[in-house]
């Protein structure tokens, strides 16, 4: 079957054990205000425009015959400065696996593997499973919000060697307000994960005044106990891609407090 991905990034060093290749799957059920991959939100392809390089030659407005350009009324293949690109490539699990397997030997020597990220990879659960089945020699990890039906969650996690599970907000209302969805399913899946015997790590974004409050971090700490956690500091540059998609980044430039956030946890480290 086909899936939609928006990037493949090589040599990612913060996406699981060793150095990895990360596949970004397009589409996400959440709308976290701090999302740094806005092109991963919609499941459909989107036009990305790097305005800063545009010379207004208008060549992209000349009509073209490319099937993939039709929805945008602009040609993504016409820009002499490479300003335009379509984010979202439909690819078969076979072709994707083939591309990834080419790197198997090298990834092994890096003690790494493949990480499925997004977007929310669970939104394309069958595609992820089908691809994973074709990567028998590779270490496989998933980076997920956990927002999925427990059945779907468990099915996908079963195919993985390592789970990077987000925990954003413990308060259901807070979660609803800042991510647009309830965290009930997420907490259910986390509870299962804690007892699953899988290898996992929790990832906690430190969003100033939203997730980095003492109240929230303490509550997360209570939930995960001595499990290992990675704290991700907020970086305003995360908003860089919004403009290219004609979107607005909802958060402001607001640095993290100068505080040792690891103190709230039994076993956490800061990723920078």
């Amino acid at each position: 079957m086909n899936g939609t991905i928006f990037d493949i990034k090589e040599f990612s060093i913060h996406d699981g054990p060793g150095a990895r290749i990360t596949v970004f799957l397009k589409g996400c059920p959440l709308r976290c205000q701090w999302c740094h991959n806005p092109e991963g939100l919609l499941p459909t392809p989107q036009l990305m425009v790097k305005e800063s390089l545009c010379t207004h030659c208008n060549r992209c407005f000349v009509s073209c015959k490319h099937e993939e350009c039709k929805p945008f009324h602009r040609c993504a293949h016409a820009c002499p400065n490479g300003c335009l690109s379509i984010s979202g490539e439909s690819i078969s699990s076979f072709r994707l696996a083939e591309r990834l397997n080419e790197n198997a030997i090298l990834l092994k020597s890096l003690n790494g593997g493949i990480t499925f990220s997004g977007g929310e990879p669970l939104m394309q659960a069958d595609f992820v499973c089908e691809t994973a089945d074709q990567l028998p020699a590779l270490h496989k990890a998933i980076q997920t919000s956990g927002y999925a039906d427990p059945k779907v969650y468990q099915k996908v996690v079963a195919k993985m060697d390592y789970v990077m599970q987000d925990i954003k907000l413990i308060s259901e209302q807070g979660h609803l307000k800042y991510t647009g969805a309830s965290n009930a399913k997420i907490l259910k899946n986390i509870d299962w994960l804690l007892h699953s015997g899988k290898e996992y790590v929790f990832r906690i974004p430190l969003i100033p005044d939203i997730t980095d409050t003492e109240e929230n971090l303490t509550a997360i700490s209570q939930l995960i106990g001595e499990a290992s956690a990675e704290l991700m500091p907020y970086n305003f540059l995360a908003g860089a891609k919004y403009q290219m998609l004609g979107m607005t980044f909802p958060l402001a430039d607001h640095p993290n407090r100068k505080e040792d956030f690891t103190k709230f946890f039994q076993n956490a480290k800061l990723i920078s």
Binding site: F11, I13, G18, A19, I21, R59, P80, G82, S109
Partner: protein, 663 residues
């Protein structure tokens, strides 16, 4: 670290001791009027310049010898040079360069022994060295620096008996070789020939790791005191390459404590000299790669890695003896040369791959019915270009260097044990991508007609502008692990190497093909217009063995796959793959380990040479606006590092355009 001395050098306070002697600017005219022989001129100039020197000891300095005389007259008048060049092939400046002299032998035996076997000019030069070092000794005594005075009582006349003496001896020799007129004087396997002195001293309890490091740092600073007074295309291109680690003549891994201390000293000092090269192989432990990555993190563009498994085999295939091949070192930039006995000229000329494509595009493409027919034309053109280059290098002439002659075995005048010429191959990615575009769009997909492509290229994509985005951003590119592009690169390098096979140069040596570009990534790029890979007129090639500047690669893994496909043993003149990483990649020990693993993986896959940069583009942008705030920002150029603000804008921009990988 000696902070007082460091501050002195970094802030160029030592420049205040400098003096010029305008009355000697026209020395060559005097020489010419007297009809002096070249070797007599070299000797007299050395005698004169050493006599004009004032011994200066900087605060806290342990290793002395620094040029104070800024006047550096040529030995020949412009008219004489013209006559010489009419009758001879003159390489670069005409003086000897890119040699790795036998410091080991001279430091061990002392210059008195060397003098016995020297010709009369060598004897005079060595006497001049003695006179200057005696004046340094007197100055040290006068200032109450008894340890230094004592060292200078023994060396350079007699062999060194301690680490301190050996370092000071090296400095005197290195200084003298520069002053004689040789340039790109390389340092060789410093950690090997110096380690016995350090080891013995440590066994005697004279040094701890820390005190040895402090002395080494003092010594490293000496490379930065007066290197600006010598020639170079850009400031910093001075060839002071130091080689660490690797295997010895017998195949044993010889990375030692001194290798480690050198990496540490370079990291602590953050100065562009000496340039650190690290020899590694598939059996090198990951810890060595980690030490290397720690240095990369410092942002100097060091170390440059070379792969013993590939380089040694490649050199043996070219006819080098096993022991010599195992002792290889790195010349000024990346060229592999043999210390002590080799007088190769590893940078004598360069072949422009994109120029070959350009010629065949215009001359042959129209009548080539198949892609194979076209590549046949490419093959013939490379062969004839190699014939032309090699044919043009005849009757080579060098200014004779009496001291260098004493420090090479068996000397340099008649040539050394190896007298091979290295030819760079520039713009490989631009050429491979251009061929890939022709193969794919003209012959396979038939999407572009021959006439249209030629018109597009000739008009710098004003005509058929719709091809530009396709060729530039969507066509197969070397660095994307793409079969079409990579196979064309393999083809080009194979043909280049094969075309030089069997050719004998005018000194009886052979020719070696390489993957370096030096400054040709700008020069050669300006010789042609636009190219079929979507490169516009005036745009540079990638540096050395690297993707083109606008190739959108998925990351370093694809790049490594692409650039290890060619048989690099066949193009072993040298020329590294360059990978740029954002400095944020090096923040934790864990990420250092991952970068180190990537380097090791590159080596395991058969890469020959790798140059890794930690770069901060924001800093560079700010340095262009406010150079005064960023005097110490160091960047890697092509085989050497430089202070960013001292570079010409064209080089600054090129550095900033290279694709970098972020977390």
């Amino acid at each position: 670290m000696q902070t007082i001395l460091y501050d002195f050098i970094v802030n160029q306070k030592h420049h205040r001791f400098r003096r010029s002697f305008p009355e000697y600017e026209n020395l060559a005219e005097e020489f010419s009027n007297e009809h002096l022989s070249p070797i007599e001129r070299m000797t007299r100039r050395f005698e004169l310049l050493t006599s004009l020197e004032t011994p200066v000891l900087l605060p806290d300095e342990k290793i002395c010898f620094m040029r104070t005389v800024t006047t550096y007259p040529d030995c020949f008048t412009p008219e004489e040079w013209q006559t010489i060049k009419e009758n001879h092939y003159v390489h670069e400046l005409g003086y000897l360069s890119n040699l790795s002299p036998d410091y080991e032998r001279v430091i061990a035996s002392g210059l008195l022994t060397v003098q016995q076997n020297a010709d009369s000019y060598g004897k005079r030069i060595i006497d001049a060295i003695f006179r200057l070092s005696d004046r340094y000794r007197d100055e040290a005594e006068k200032q109450g620096k008894t340890a230094l005075a004592e060292v200078l009582t023994r060396i350079p006349r007699y062999g060194a008996t301690s680490f301190y003496e050996a370092l000071q001896f090296f400095r005197i020799l290195h200084y003298s070789l520069w002053l004689e007129g040789n340039y790109h004087n390389t340092v060789g396997r410093f950690d090997q020939y110096m380690y016995p002195y350090l080891k013995a001293d440590m066994e005697r309890g004279l040094y701890t790791r820390e005190s040895a490091l402090a002395l080494l740092e003092d010594f490293f600073l000496s490379f930065n005191k007066d290197s600006d007074l010598y020639h170079g295309v850009q400031q910093g291109d001075n060839g002071q390459s130091m080689v660490l680690g690797g295997i010895d003549e017998y195949g044993n891994d010889v990375f030692n404590l001194l290798s480690e201390l050198c990496l540490q000293a370079s990291k602590n000092l953050l100065m562009i000299d000496p340039k650190i090269n690290l020899r590694v192989g598939k059996n090198t432990p990951i810890s060595v790669f980690e030490l290397g990555s720690e240095l990369t993190k410092a942002g100097l563009g060091f170390p440059q890695y070379s792969n013993d498994d590939i380089v040694i085999d490649g050199l043996i295939k070219l006819g080098y003896d096993l022991k010599d091949a195992r002792n290889y070192v790195v010349a000024a930039c990346w060229e592999f040369i043999i210390p002590k006995v080799g007088t190769d000229i590893p940078n004598i000329a360069a072949l422009s791959f994109p120029k070959i494509i350009d010629t065949c595009l215009h001359r042959d493409l129209m009548h080539c019915k198949t892609y194979d027919a076209f590549t046949d034309c490419i093959r013939k053109e490379i062969q004839s270009e190699c014939d032309r280059i090699c044919g043009s290098i005849q009757n080579l002439w060098f200014v004779p260097s009496p001291l260098m002659n004493c420090m090479m075995d068996p000397g340099v005048y008649e040539g050394g044990k190896y007298n091979n010429f290295g030819i760079h191959g520039t713009g490989i990615a631009t050429a491979a991508d251009s061929l890939a575009a022709i193969e794919k769009y003209i012959y396979l997909d038939k999407k572009i007609s021959k006439t249209d492509l030629i018109q597009a290229v000739d008009s710098n994509f004003e005509k058929h502008s719709e091809f530009l985005p396709l060729l530039r951003y969507e066509a197969p590119k070397m660095g994307c692990n793409d079969e079409i592009a990579d196979n064309n690169a393999v083809f080009l390098l194979d043909v280049f190497s094969d075309s030089l096979k069997g050719k004998i140069n005018c000194r009886g040596g052979i020719y070696r093909a390489g993957t370096g570009s030096a400054m040709y990534y700008l020069w050669h790029a300006s010789e042609i217009g636009a190219s079929p890979d979507g490169r516009r007129q005036g745009e540079a090639f990638g540096t050395n063995f690297s993707p083109s500047l606008f190739a959108k690669t998925r990351g370093p893994i694809s790049v490594i796959h692409s650039f290890t496909k060619p048989d690099l043993k066949k193009v072993i003149n040298g020329g590294p793959l360059t990978l740029e990483f954002a400095s944020s990649m090096f923040q934790s020990p864990d990420s250092i380990h991952k970068v180190a693993s990537l380097v090791k993986a590159f080596i395991a896959l058969g890469g020959h040479q790798l140059q890794l940069n930690a770069v901060n583009t924001d800093l560079m942008k700010d340095a262009q606006l406010h150079p005064e705030k960023h005097r110490q920002l160091v960047v890697r150029i092509w085989g050497w590092s430089a202070y960013f603000v001292e570079l010409d804008k064209a080089y600054q921009n090129h550095v900033m355009q290279r694709q970098q990988y972020v977390v």
